[in-house]
Every structure is written in C-alpha cells, then in structure tokens.
C-alpha cells in the first residue's frame, strides 16, 4: 500500500463551459502538513470539495484516504476530518454533548466515544469544562475543541479550511502547535489559509492560480525557485498573473 493519503491526477471540474479546476495533480504523504493556497477565485474551494467527497470531478482520477474520488464520495466523507472556517459546533450544547453528537455521526460506539472524549479533553486540559456550554467558551478554546471534534474518529487526514481567520496571534500559534502535534503523531493535515506566515509552517505548499496548480514544493524551495524572501512574495509573484477574479 502506498504511503500517499491523497493522490490525485488531472482532477478537473467544469460548471457548464467554465473550468473551475483544470487538471490538477499532486500527492500528499502521511504526516505531511500540506498548505493549499490560491488567490480568491482560483478554484481552491471547488478542489477541496472534490477531495472531501462533496462533489464528483468531471474528469481525472485519484484517491483520498484510500477511497476513489470519482465514485466513493460517501466513503471519503466518513473517513476524513473536516473543520470549516465558520465555527460549526453547537453553541447551545455542552462540550461533551458536541463530542457525543459528532462521534455518533461518525458511528463510534458509546464506550469508544466515552474513551476518546476523555482522552481528547485530557489532552486539551479541558476535563473541567466537560459540561460547559460551548457558546460560553473563549474563541481560542472553541477552535481547539473544533479540531478535537474534527479528529474524534481518528481520520488519516483532516481538512482545515482557513482555521485561523480572525483569531488573535497567541491563539493562532496555539492552534498551529496543535497541528504540528497531530502531524507529528502521523495525521495528515490539508490546510488553507490567507496568512502567508502560516504557509511557512507547512511541509509543502501548493499555489493555485486560475484553476491550475502553478507551484508545489517546500516553502524553502519555492522561495529559492522564485528568488523570493518570503512565501508572501512567492504568492504575490504567482497570483499577480491571475486572469480571473473571484
């Protein structure tokens, strides 16, 4: 079995005569933090929806967590983790109720849920907040809890869609430490962000422009390739040539 958690070839999505995603190909290895960058309108969201099993490609091939992106969207959904940019836990349920709800959706048994919830709460130093309403938690805690919930079924890969938008600099860093820790433990991270300093935290970064992946490498090699000081500069060089808006 290959060590690729995501492997796609020539993945394409058309809406009518508009090609939103144009033949993108890449592989993501186990334990990698893979940054998925692109200008507004480059096709990131459409690509991400295909990888998450929410939309079938028009053409191409590939697998996510071992399941076929062309046919097995339902299986993909079950076997990945996903955290959206909008906070999506239930504010009027407690910490424990949220965990139980999502664990139930992913089909974990009661005993298993109890065990993993205890572990997750322990890891986050959250055990005393088990019965606190999520709505009353500070933003930073909510973010961490969202991540714990998105990984409660121990997916091989978790998709994070702008997880740190609007978050204060300290919380943002705590969140990234959690990502480092998860990746260190073998979970593959697929993450989008508009903060270019966060692109530097990734093992590898891909940059989409006009529906295509225009660059893909480690941050260090991308900076070398484009003779740039920072990822921000690399991004600007690539995105400035974009033909289409959002």
């Amino acid at each position: 079995m290959s060590d690729y958690i995501i492997s796609v070839k020539e993945l394409t999505k058309c809406f009518g005569d508009f090609t939103a995603v144009n033949r993108i190909s890449f592989d993501v290895q186990r334990g990698e933090i893979f940054g998925f960058l692109g200008a507004n309108g480059a096709g990131k969201t459409t690509a991400m929806r295909m990888l998450c099993g929410l939309s079938y490609p028009t053409s191409g091939s590939g697998t996510v967590a071992g399941w076929d992106v062309m046919r097995e969207g339902e299986q993909i959904k079950r076997h990945i983790g996903y955290m959206s940019q909008k906070f999506s836990l239930y504010n009027d349920l407690t910490v424990w109720e949220n965990i139980r709800l999502f664990a139930g959706i992913y089909g974990l048994s009661k005993a298993e849920t109890e065990k993993r919830a205890a572990e997750a709460l322990e890891r986050l130093n959250f055990s005393s907040e088990r019965n606190t309403l999520v709505g009353s938690l500070p933003l930073g805690w909510k973010q961490k809890l969202s991540f714990a919930v998105a990984t409660i079924h121990r997916p091989k890969v978790v998709f994070l869609d702008e997880p740190t938008g609007g978050v204060d600099p300290i919380t943002r860093r705590q969140f990234w430490e959690m990502i480092y820790e998860a990746a260190d433990g073998g979970t593959t991270i697929f993450v989008t962000t508009h903060y270019m300093d966060e692109a530097e935290y990734c093992s590898r970064v891909s940059i989409m422009v006009d529906g295509e992946v225009r660059a893909l490498d480690t941050p260090a090699r991308l900076k070398e390739q484009f003779a740039a000081e920072s990822m921000d500069e690399v991004f600007r060089i690539l995105a400035r040539g974009a033909k289409r808006g959002e």
Partner: protein
Amino acid sequence: MSAIKVENISKSFGKVKALDGISFDVKRGELFGLIGPDGAGKTTLFRVLATLLNPDEGGAEVDGFDIVKDYHAIRERVGYMPGRFSLYQDLTVEENLNFFAALFGVKVEDSYDLVAPIYRQIEPFKTRRAGKLSGGMKQKLALSCALIHRPSVLFLDEPTTGVDAVSRSEFWDMLADLKQRGITILVSTPYMDEASRCDRIALCNEGRILGIDTPTDIVAGFDSSLYAIKGDNMYQLLLAARKANGVRECYPFGEAHHMIADAEFDVEQFKAELVEVKGLHIEPTKPSIEDMFIKLMKQ
C-alpha cells in the same frame, strides 16, 4: 482639530464588555488602523462612531460633531463600509450607486472624480446585480457607495478580511490614494502585516487598546532581545527551545520560531543544550508588530 476624538467609551452587551474605556484621537487626513482579532470590539466601535449605537459611558466627536447630539450631521459627513456586505443584492451595480447618491441628495457625476479610480474597475459590469459580483468586486462597489457623498471621514470595518494577499495589497493602495485626497480614514483589520500601511495604529484586544503609535514606534517599544531559530524539525525545536536556559518564550513565527531571551541567555550555551536538534540555526532578529502584540497581550 481632530477628525475623530474618542473619550473613555465603554459599551456592554449583557455580561460582555465589548468596549472597555477606549480613548484615542485621529488627526485630519490621517490613515488610522485598528489592529486586532475578532472580539476586540472593532465593529462595536465603528457602530458607535457611525452613530448607530450609543455608548454606555464616555463620548466621541466625529468631524467636530457629537455622536449623540449631532448624529444627523455626522451621518452626512461619514462614509461607512460595514464588515458584512450590505448593499442591495438585487439591484445592479449602477442602481446601487445611484441609490446611495439619491439617499445623500447628490449626483453621481458630482463625485465621479473621487469614485472613478475605484468604480472604473467594476464599471464594465454595471448592469450586473450586486449579488452576482465576486468578493473583490463587491468590496469595490461598497467602497464606491461609501464615497459617493464625498465624506470627510471614512469608516472601513475589516475591508480585507478573507481577501487574498494580492487583492489586500491593492485595496491598501486605493486607501493611500484616498488619503492623498484629504479623506480621514479609520480602518480595522485582523492582519498584523497590514499595520505598516497606516500612519498610526491602535492595537486592540478584548475591548481595550493595548497601545497606540506609529507602526515604527510601536515596534521600537519592544525592549527584549529577540532571536529567530530554525531547525530541520521545527516542532521538536519548539519544544526543546522552551526548556533551554534563559529562554523566556518561544513561539512559531513563519519560517522561523521567535524566541525571547533573558539577560543570562547565552547563544553558545543554547547551541550546546540543543545539540540533538539537527540543522539548528540561530540569529538575532527584529521584532514585528505581531511580536509586540503578543507581548502586550501577555502583560
């Protein structure tokens, strides 16, 4: 005279203190940034200054008028672009612009010179409904509508949130141009790297202002020694550095980690302690606005 004068404003919603004793002045023609994360109180402050909400305590003047007594005069003088897109989705680009001009009793032609550099970019789509525009185009239309009555003060609430780095930079170029035309601009953003585009900034967090100054002087106030460290495994490096002698703090910062050192910190000793970290590289570095923000948050 100040264009905006805020004195000790507080505003609570139930138990949440959204604004907690905020004071600052914005000079005429200044580009002033409110830099801070969600929950800092930025939007509440805009709503107070735009006379949509009265403060519980304190007061403010905009363009010389009192926000409570003279709210009518203020509404004629300010342009306000809320964080959420709030034009009419089912009116076209052109209809929205005409509508806002009519509300303020002006003609589009009379302000066209001011609006043109921005509006021209969306003019090819003037018959398109606003709801069908891309995010970047919506932003330009909203800014055009906020300018149509030639306001003396412009309030922009997170105009660049969720916008890619290139479009963000273009938006700041537009603001610099408006500033050249003498408009006072109060703008908020959660992106610390945008602070350098402002004349002065206020760092905001949880309803309070942590510091106000020019971006250069804010950074000059950082009085600890700061190092940038790198290694082959950045996560292992982070954990190891925190345990080393003389290290007060270490946190991820883009391609390197930033490390704040005590007086007794010694580079050679540090290297010896972290001998097991492969590819260790350490050098002194200059603090940024974000380092300062982190420092102030922890005080």
